[in-house]
């Protein structure tokens, strides 16, 4: 439900950073979204079209990299990836795991631009 405001923040951030590259066009914006970030990827993509209309990013592709949940299992003394969100148990030994190491990310990883370089 809050994906439109999230996408608007992305457009704002990328547009700000773009000031350092005058004349450049943005081809792609890459996000890292954790499986526990409470954000729906389909909804992000849908909102992207709305939020970028009439901006410098209107032709920019949005790429979302989903980051799986990684917990630390004390029993196995290892970081383990959860296959889903229905049970916070170590997939190896079955113990409950509370120590979250990865999965709440909500970040702009990078964006790809075409710069126009003047060559004599």
């Amino acid at each position: 439900m809050h994906e439109l405001s999230i996408v608007s923040s992305i457009v704002e951030s990328v547009t700000e950073s773009l000031a350092a590259y005058p004349g450049a066009t943005v081809k792609e914006v890459r996000l890292r979204v954790g499986a526990l970030a409470s954000v729906v990827v389909d909804s992000l993509e849908f909102c992207w079209g709305i939020a970028t209309e009439g901006t410098a990013l209107s032709r920019t592709r949005l790429v979302v990299i989903v980051v799986p949940v990684v917990m630390h299992c004390a029993q196995c003394d290892a970081d383990v990836e959860l296959p889903g969100l229905q049970s916070f148990r170590c997939p190896r030994c079955g113990e409950l795991v509370a120590d979250l190491r990865q999965g709440r990310e909500l970040e702009i990883e990078s964006f790809e631009i075409d710069e126009v370089e003047e060559k004599p």
Partner: protein, 228 residues
């Protein structure tokens, strides 16, 4: 002169909610400096957040504690009026359609309040089990509430919120039996999503479970003071 496009990847590695996170960090420092315990109460609409908070404020006030509350809703100041009956300072935040509270709304609504005068500050979030989990309000304790009428599988349906909580409160325990509430299953489901979390089984009506809840608040508040 020729021009040719050069492709370049600009690494940003920036939190999308950076502005909120930065402001939340400022608030967290303010709360710490004032030694006030701040809690963020999150649940679906209808869980009984306001009734639970009414009871909490009343019981804390009776014990001589200095408490205040901010309450978020899309519209109306009904909840603020209900909570103000406890005698505690209360402010309503109307989000006008926004489905969560953010750090800036909290910042603006704290204006004029001397946090050092407070021991406990409760923030009742907008009734929603999805969006509030993304927005840090600088709170020390995030409380997820669940009522006996909602179904024991709520934590499984909304794992992102329940996994981000520091404590869980089950409300309306006085009607658990007629509702056919399966207590063991609910406890198991909460623990499956957030292993080891403290769970309080309460009734705002009868006061059941309040003693344990108030003791927990005092414990957490003592930890705040240790950091003063």
């Amino acid at each position: 002169m020729t021009t040719r496009p050069q492709t370049r990847i600009v690494e940003l590695r920036q939190g999308i909610l950076k502005k909120n996170d930065e402001l939340a960090a400022v608030l967290r420092n303010r709360y710490k400096a004032a030694g006030v315990l701040v809690l963020n109460l999150v649940s679906s609409p209808g869980t009984g957040k306001t009734a639970f908070l009414e009871r909490t404020l009343r019981d804390l006030k009776q014990g001589g504690a200095r408490v205040a509350a901010l309450v978020g809703d899309l519209e109306t100041d009904n909840d603020a009026r209900r909570l103000a009956a406890s005698g505690a300072p209360v402010r309503q935040i109307n989000t006008h359609g926004i489905c969560h509270l953010d750090a800036d709304m909290i910042h603006r609504h704290l204006e004029g309040w001397d946090l050092a005068e407070l021991e406990y500050l409760f923030i009742e979030n907008v009734g929603n089990l999805v969006c509030p989990s993304s927005y840090d309000l600088g709170e020390r304790v995030r409380v997820a509430l669940l009522s006996v009428t909602e179904g024991e599988d709520k934590p499984l349906k909304y794992p992102t919120l329940f996994n981000s909580a520091d404590a869980a409160v089950i409300t309306k325990m006085d009607i658990a039996e007629p509702c056919g509430f399966d207590r063991d299953l609910a406890l198991r489901n909460i623990n499956e999503i957030r292993p080891g979390i403290r769970i309080f089984e309460t009734s705002a009506k009868t006061g059941a479970g309040m003693e344990e809840w108030l003791a927990y608040l005092a414990e957490e508040r003592a930890k705040c003071r240790a950091q003063e």
